[in-house]
């Protein structure tokens, strides 16, 4: 074994005497330094059970770091203090700490010592990530209904709670090195794969055997919404991931009773075992943070939540979670917007996000939300410190930054007794820097981990700057000045002509220019030695004429740093946050106002019918009065002369504002999934639909399976968060579907596995589901709670209501009969293009209908669809609505309703009711919306023209008395979008000029969903071409 280069041949007593010399030597040995130190540490911590090949060399390593500025933690700094470590642990810290006799003394004058950082979110030493699969499997492959994991584990492959990071951990020196270089000493590592990811292990970054670096085995349990490498179909959507997590909590609880029917299930066993650990959730997005927190609330778990970088957009909501956050510092790249035609594709929201991401940590601090920082998500760990400095520039305090890297994670990990500050008894994990840790020019010299020294940078350990006199053997002396930074020196001679200096270890090369044109040079080569604390330089060289000479140099005046020489950085300027975070978002949310709409044609949808020249008074979000010549009082008066006022449009069938998947179509029954979990308030289609007079939308699960997910009615309160978008006190609904989609007729030849493949099978899916639900309801109190069956029981108990996607008369009839048999009622048949054939039967059942105005011919089950369908059903006595199922058409639902006037001769007022009052009736909210009546919600639209006309434009759209869309205000928003885009494009181009790496100007993908995946019904969108996969 190689001897320690630091102490070889020197007794401890000599050590003290020669300390300056030793340090200098250490620096000089830079080539070998790292390896040497590594070995030094290893020897000190050699394990007892491991045999030694050669002569054993037991040693207690003791070091004293003197005259340093020691930052014990973010709150306590000691000047000119000493840190003593022994055997990998801190033994003393303080100004007067005694230096043990056997200590190697390292003079740290002018240097700073900080506790090494802790990264609480790492995959250090974990097996390489498995290839990521999208949607579980390759396109067209047969479905995988169950887990492929072998062994006594659970049914779902994305639940990997049995994985323990400690068992798959294997130290990775190159990764450790990159983390140490950024100041880290300890990380919490876990396998980042799956929805439940098992436990995390706390390890140090020392390059020793794993036996010594593991600080604690099972520290934490990890979760996410991403199924990762799981090839199983379920879950395919975000709402499916949420449902799966919820069901796991219930199943694990139930498993505690050792149910015989389950046998041994190690996934559930581990899930239970892990509950006592720190629970960490990788949310990765602001809305997902809230989704995760909600799951936690339901099951009494407070997660530590890993953020995604956009949480600054919703700080009050983040604070309300009461969670501690883990913030990554990966900032999006600027995009190359030089080409104006490409710049068009970059959304303002993306540009603003680029500009504002560095404010994230600062805004958390400002809001007093506890957080840690992580290197996770960085493309290159090396960018961590630079990005952190940027966060500081954008408002994060240095004190908070240090806390977030030391004390906060250490405390969360219940390891503050061992790491996170510089106190006696803790691990000797610390970094030695040239100055305050987060300052721009500060150099990290060394990172010590468990008492092992890792040299990060030698250059500049000793500051050689100052004025020197160089005495030349044949030509007198030359005064020179050595300047620059300690790590990067420069030299000028007395005439201020720049020369050159290169220090490599102990060796030095100097070039002195005696003429400005560099034509005359004195070239010197020599060594720097330290004698009795004085730096002496000497060597040989050649003069201007090439004649040999010898030389010596002595320091005449040491360097004195100029006070405040560092340029003051300009405070960064950035734009405002919009609510929601979209080009059309508001800087401040619009508020409810009292309004009097005067002298309009008012379509009441009540027995009063259409009132000419009428007034409508809105107070506190409700319709206060309808009549003529009403007194305005304090209300703002809007002139409705020549205009039409109608109730807001309710789109009975919509898929806007949904995040990551409208279908959990991987099983035939998925009543456990809920659109309510995945409402996306940022969808610009909310705003676009307001511009078409829509005030409420019924967000439905797709139609890929017979019993789909639970739906959510929202009001289009543009700018509100998901909870506030939801229609309050609403009866729950659920989506069912029949026909080609659920039997996968148009899914390709390989999709012939999932039951059902025929309309016969669809009936059996229903029979099976409701039979199970009834048995489940009858079962005793200790039954396994099943979210899927809970929803079905709600249907049987008339607490949840059915909207059923359906086309042909046979299947409609079948569902009616199934309802009779199992005791459920279908509230609404949606699409229902052959409803006109069985309208009498639907009426007898008490079902309503929500249909398209004129779609047909896009698939086999719609060949008999007719545009008179709505009229016939209405005339037979059904409650009939016209819906969109389409983000584009939803903006013209009034005109879609008008088509029944054209094709079926429907009365105009009846036609308007099909997109206002009738869907409200179908959704059990006609007591609150759908007509203009005193006491109802003030959800109103002021139209420029007859509301059924192609020429009508919604001029103002109001929800609960708040005007969310107004044509004049829309013009201002457009102007703002254009100005803000222009500003940010300029800023990005500035970054390009500075040479910053640029990303491609790619559009962000809008999520546009329909029930029908086929093209024909829905308008083609340019982005369809770009994102076809």
């Amino acid at each position: 074994m190689k001897s320690n280069p630091l102490t070889a041949g020197i007794t401890p007593a000599q050590g003290k005497k020669h300390r300056r010399f030793l340090i200098t030597r250490l620096r000089y040995r830079s080539v070998f330094g790292v390896v040497g130190c590594l070995l030094a540490g290893f020897a000190a911590n050699a394990q007892q059970t491991w045999p030694v090949n050669g002569v054993a060399e037991p040693r207690e390593s003791c070091y004293a770091f003197t005259h340093a500025t020691i930052v014990r933690d973010a709150q306590n700094t000691l000047k000119d203090a000493t840190l003593v470590i022994r055997d990998g642990k801190i033994t003393a810290v303080g100004a007067g700490a005694a230096i043990p006799k056997d200590a190697v003394v390292i003079d740290c004058k002018g240097k700073f010592i900080y506790p090494s950082f802790v990264d609480i979110y790492s995959d250090y030493g974990m097996p390489a990530a498995q290839p990521r699969t999208f949607g579980g499997r390759g396109g067209g492959a047969a479905p995988q209904m169950l887990s492929n994991t072998k062994g006594p584990y659970g049914w779902n492959q994305a639940i990997k709670s049995e994985v323990n990071a400690v068992q798959v951990f294997s130290a990775d020196e190159s990764k450790a090195k990159s983390l140490r270089e950024q100041g880290f000493g300890v990380v919490l590592s876990h396998q980042q794969d799956g929805i439940a990811r098992g436990t995390g292990v706390l390890v140090s970054l020392a390059s020793e055997r794993e036996n010594m670096t593991i600080l604690r085995e099972k520290v934490s349990a990890h979760y996410s919404f991403e199924k990762g490498s799981s090839t199983q179909d379920y879950p395919s959507s975000l709402m499916g991931s949420i449902a799966l997590l919820r069901q796991q909590y219930l199943d694990a609880q139930w498993y505690k009773g050792n149910p015989a029917k389950e046998g041994v299930n190690l996934s559930l066993q581990s899930w239970n075992d892990n509950q006592g650990l720190l629970q960490v959730f990788d949310a990765g997005d602001k809305w997902n943070v809230l989704r995760a927190d909600k799951i936690g609330d339901e099951f009494g778990v407070q997660y530590v939540i890993k953020a995604g970088g956009n949480e600054y957009q919703r700080i009050p909501e983040m604070a309300a979670t009461k969670a501690t956050f883990i913030l990554p510092l990966n900032y999006p790249q600027a995009m190359d917007v030089e080409d104006p035609n490409d710049a068009r594709f970059v959304a303002l929201a993306d540009m603003k996000h680029w500009e504002l991401t560095p404010t994230e940590a600062g805004s958390f601090e400002k809001a007093n939300i506890p957080f840690c920082l992580t290197t996770a998500e960085l493309k290159d760990t090396k960018s961590f410190l630079a990005n952190l400095r940027k966060a500081i520039e954008y408002g994060l305090s240095e004190e908070k930054a240090l806390d977030a890297l030391t004390k906060t994670p250490a405390t969360l990990l219940k390891a503050y007794d061992r790491i996170g500050s510089l106190d006696a008894g803790k691990l000797a994990n610390f970094i030695i820097t040239s100055g305050p840790v987060f300052q721009e020019n500060t150099v990290f010299f060394q990172n010590w981990v468990q008492g092992n020294r890792y040299v990060l940078k030698n250059e500049g350990w000793q500051d050689l700057r100052g004025s020197y006199t160089i005495t030349l053997s044949n030509a007198g002396s030359v005064p020179v000045e050595i300047k620059g930074t300690p790590a990067s020196l420069s030299l000028v001679n007395k005439d201020t002509i720049p020369g050159k200096i290169d220090v490599e270890g102990q060796l030095v090369k100097i070039v002195i220019n005696t003429k400005k044109d560099n034509s005359q040079q004195i070239r010197l080569s020599g060594v720097i030695s330290q004698q009795a604390g004085v730096s002496k330089w000497s060597g040989s060289g050649t003069d201007e004429k090439g004649q040999p000479l010898t030389w010596e140099a002595v320091l005449s005046k040491p360097f004195v740093a100029k006070a405040d020489s560092a340029k003051k950085k300009e405070t960064p300027q950035y734009g405002k946050i919009y609510f929601p975070f979209s080009g059309y978002g508001y800087e401040t949310l619009p508020t409810q106002q009292d309004v009097l709409i005067r002298n309009a044609t008012v379509w009441t949808n009540e027995k009063e019918g259409k009132l000419e020249g009428a007034d409508v008074l809105v107070r506190n979000g409700k319709i206060a009065q309808v009549g003529k010549n009403l007194a305005a009082g304090n209300a703002k008066v809007i002139d409705g002369t020549g205009k039409h006022l109608t109730p807001g449009i309710l789109d009975e069938h919509s898929h806007i504002a949904i995040s990551r998947g409208v279908n959990e179509g991987t099983q035939s029954v998925t009543s456990e999934v809920r659109i309510a979990d995945v409402v996306n308030p940022d969808d610009v289609n909310i705003y676009r639909q307001l511009s078409g007079g829509v005030t409420s939308s019924h967000l439905l699960h797709g139609s890929a399976n017979t019993i789909g997910g639970q739906s959510q009615l929202i009001k289009l309160r543009w700018g509100a968060n998901a909870e506030d978008l939801k229609f309050k006190n609403w009866d729950g609904f659920i989506k069912f579907a029949l026909g080609e989609n659920v039997k996968q007729s148009n899914w390709g030849d390989r999709q012939r596995v999932r039951f059902p493949q025929t309309r016969m099978g669809v009936e059996q899916v229903l029979a099976d589901a409701f039979t199970r639900a009834k048995d489940y309801e009858k079962a005793g109190p200790n039954k396994r709670r099943d979210l899927e069956l809970d929803a079905l029981v709600e249907i049987l108990n008339k607490k949840r209501f059915i909207t059923c996607h359906s086309y042909v008369q046979s299947e409609i009839n079948m569902l009616l009969k199934a309802g009779d048999k199992y005791g459920f009622q279908v509230s609404t048949f949606t699409h229902i293009l052959e409803g006109y054939k069985v309208a009498d039967k639907m009426k007898a059942h008490g079902a309503g209908a929500s249909t398209f105005a004129d779609w047909w011919a896009y698939k086999m089950e719609v060949v008999d669809a007719i545009p008179q369908n709505a009229t016939i059903m209405q005339r037979v006595g059904l409650t009939v609505a016209i819906n969109s199922d389409d983000a584009e058409m939803a903006r013209r639902l009034n005109q879609e309703a008008a088509k029944s006037v054209k094709y079926g001769g429907m009365q105009e007022e009846d036609a308007l009711k099909m997109v206002t009052l009738n869907p409200a009736t179908l959704l059990h909210v006609s007591d609150r919306i759908g007509s203009i009546k005193t006491g109802k919600d003030a959800d109103l639209v002021l139209w420029s023209d007859h509301p059924l006309s192609i020429y009508a434009k919604a001029e103002k759209t109001m929800v609960d008395g708040t005007i969310y869309f107004d044509r004049d205000q829309d013009l201002q928003l457009r102007k703002r979008i254009s100005e803000e885009r222009n500003r940010l494009i300029g800023k990005m181009l500035g970054e390009k000029k500075k040479g910053a790496p640029m990303g491609r100007p790619v559009p962000s993908r809008e999520e546009i969903y329909h029930c029908e995946d086929l093209q024909a019904g829905h308008q083609h969108h340019i982005m369809d071409d770009v994102y076809q996969q």
Partner: protein, 433 residues
């Protein structure tokens, strides 16, 4: 003796017998003179004639105006009683007749395999017995431009009239254009994550290579077609001969600005007539389109804006912007059955900055000009084919447009369709009147 027959339109409607679709016959050639009087005549060129009369003979319009003398002869005269008379609407881009049920593969004949297929002809698979066709006539659409898809150069299109026994009868202008579907010139994110990272391959570069392959095909074809004799016949080259003598146009399907600039370059470089189909972003480069006389068959206004930051009503007002800039354009609608909404797309344009008559031109005369059939149709002018629609109200507004009568080449065509028949069947079931 006065032999003039006077019909009141309402009555003739009631007399329509219920017939199954299979017995809805194409009309026989026009026999004798027909006059429609007391009409609000929308000529299609912007002109409106109140209380006008239009007369036609042998399939051609012989008189239009406020003071048309109706000969006291063997003529049919219909008093339309203030109803609106329009030129037959033209669907300028459709796969009508090439598909019947979109999800059923056996019914789909609009998409051939291969990248460069100029010799493929849509007309030969145009199915006059499609049940969809009648549902378009009943909304006033009397002509359609039937376009093949699939690959880059997809073949030649033809214009058909919508009342025929077979495709030969239906052909109104055969092989009038060659179609090139330009690949998207839009940077795109790596589908496997990292929005800003960019994929290993550059989609725009790949797309431009395809564009170059089409251009080099056309150059080679141009050279080929200058020689009179060939040892071996190249059907693909021969199929595009008309581009170079300008008897055919090159219809380039393109939407984004860069695509449109590249399309304009085809016109310049090859000296051929280019028409843009799609042209979603045409409003941004009207100067270029005008400068090179490139007309646009505009994608339907009833579309979502391309980007989240776009004006929410951008697709609605694009027609008005093109109109104002002086670019020749017409309005299209996607698909086949959807064509019945073509008039309402024009109506929306009328609500967002165009006059109603300009909006009408965008589905009649301008479409005819762009398709090269304006010598025969597109407006109600003397000498043109009597392609005429009568509506109770504004044909562009679903609130008021009920088509009461339609003529193609002077033949009164049936306004029966499958939907009306099913409607009657179930009115009968429920005893509804």
């Amino acid at each position: 003796m006065q032999k003039t027959f006077i019909y009141i339109l309402g009555l003739s409607l009631c007399s329509t017998a219920l017939r199954a679709q299979e017995t809805v016959y194409p009309a026989k050639p026009q026999q004798g003179l027909v006059f429609l009087k007391n009409a609000t005549i929308h000529v299609g060129n912007g002109q409106v004639i109140q209380n006008g009369t239009i007369g036609f003979n042998n399939g051609k319009i012989m008189a239009v105006g406020a003071n048309v003398a109706i000969p006291a002869d063997d003529v049919k005269v219909f008093d339309v009683n203030g109803q609106h008379v329009y030129p037959g609407l033209i669907a300028p881009e459709s796969n009508l007749g090439l598909t019947e049920v979109e999800s059923v593969r056996a019914t789909n004949d609009y998409e051939e395999v291969g990248e460069i297929n100029p010799s493929v002809r849509s007309i030969v698979s145009y199915n006059t017995d499609s049940k969809v066709i009648a549902t378009l006539r009943t909304n006033g659409i009397l002509l359609a431009h039937v376009v093949p898809q699939g690959g880059l150069v997809t073949g030649s299109s033809s214009v058909v009239q919508l009342d025929a026994w077979n495709w030969e009868d239906a052909a109104y202008k055969t092989d009038n254009g060659i179609h090139f579907f330009m690949p998207r010139l839009m940077p795109r994110a790596n589908p496997f994550g990292g929005a800003a990272a960019g994929p290993a391959t550059d989609a725009v570069k790949e797309a431009m290579e395809k564009v170059a392959s089409v251009k080099s095909f056309l150059r080679a074809a141009q050279a080929y077609n200058t020689a009179a004799q060939h040892a071996e016949v190249n059907l693909k080259y021969a199929a595009v001969k008309g581009l170079f003598d300008k008897s055919q146009k090159l219809f380039i399907h393109a939407d984004l600005v860069k695509e449109l600039i590249v399309a304009a370059d085809f016109a310049k470089e090859l000296d051929i007539d280019v028409v843009i189909v799609g042209g979603t972003d045409a409003w941004m480069i009207t100067d270029v389109l005008k400068k090179y006389n490139i007309p646009v068959i505009l994608s339907q206004p009833h579309s979502l804006p391309v980007m989240a930051d776009d004006d929410v009503d951008q697709p609605y007002k694009t027609p008005a912007q093109l109109q104002k800039a002086g670019v020749l354009f017409c309005i299209s609608n996607e698909g086949f059955w959807q064509q019945r909404n073509l008039p309402f797309n024009a109506g929306t344009a009328g609500a967002y900055g165009m006059t109603k008559e300009e909006a009408l031109s965008s589905v009649t005369l301008n479409a005819a000009k762009i398709l090269g059939i304006d010598d025969k149709t597109g407006s109600l002018e003397v000498g043109k084919d009597a392609n005429i629609v009568v509506s109770t109200g504004d044909i562009l507004d679903m609130k008021s447009s009920v088509i009461t009568r339609a003529y193609i080449q002077g033949r009164e065509v049936s306004l029966e369709d499958k939907h009306k028949q099913l409607y009657e069947r179930y009115k009968y079931k429920y005893d509804l009147k």
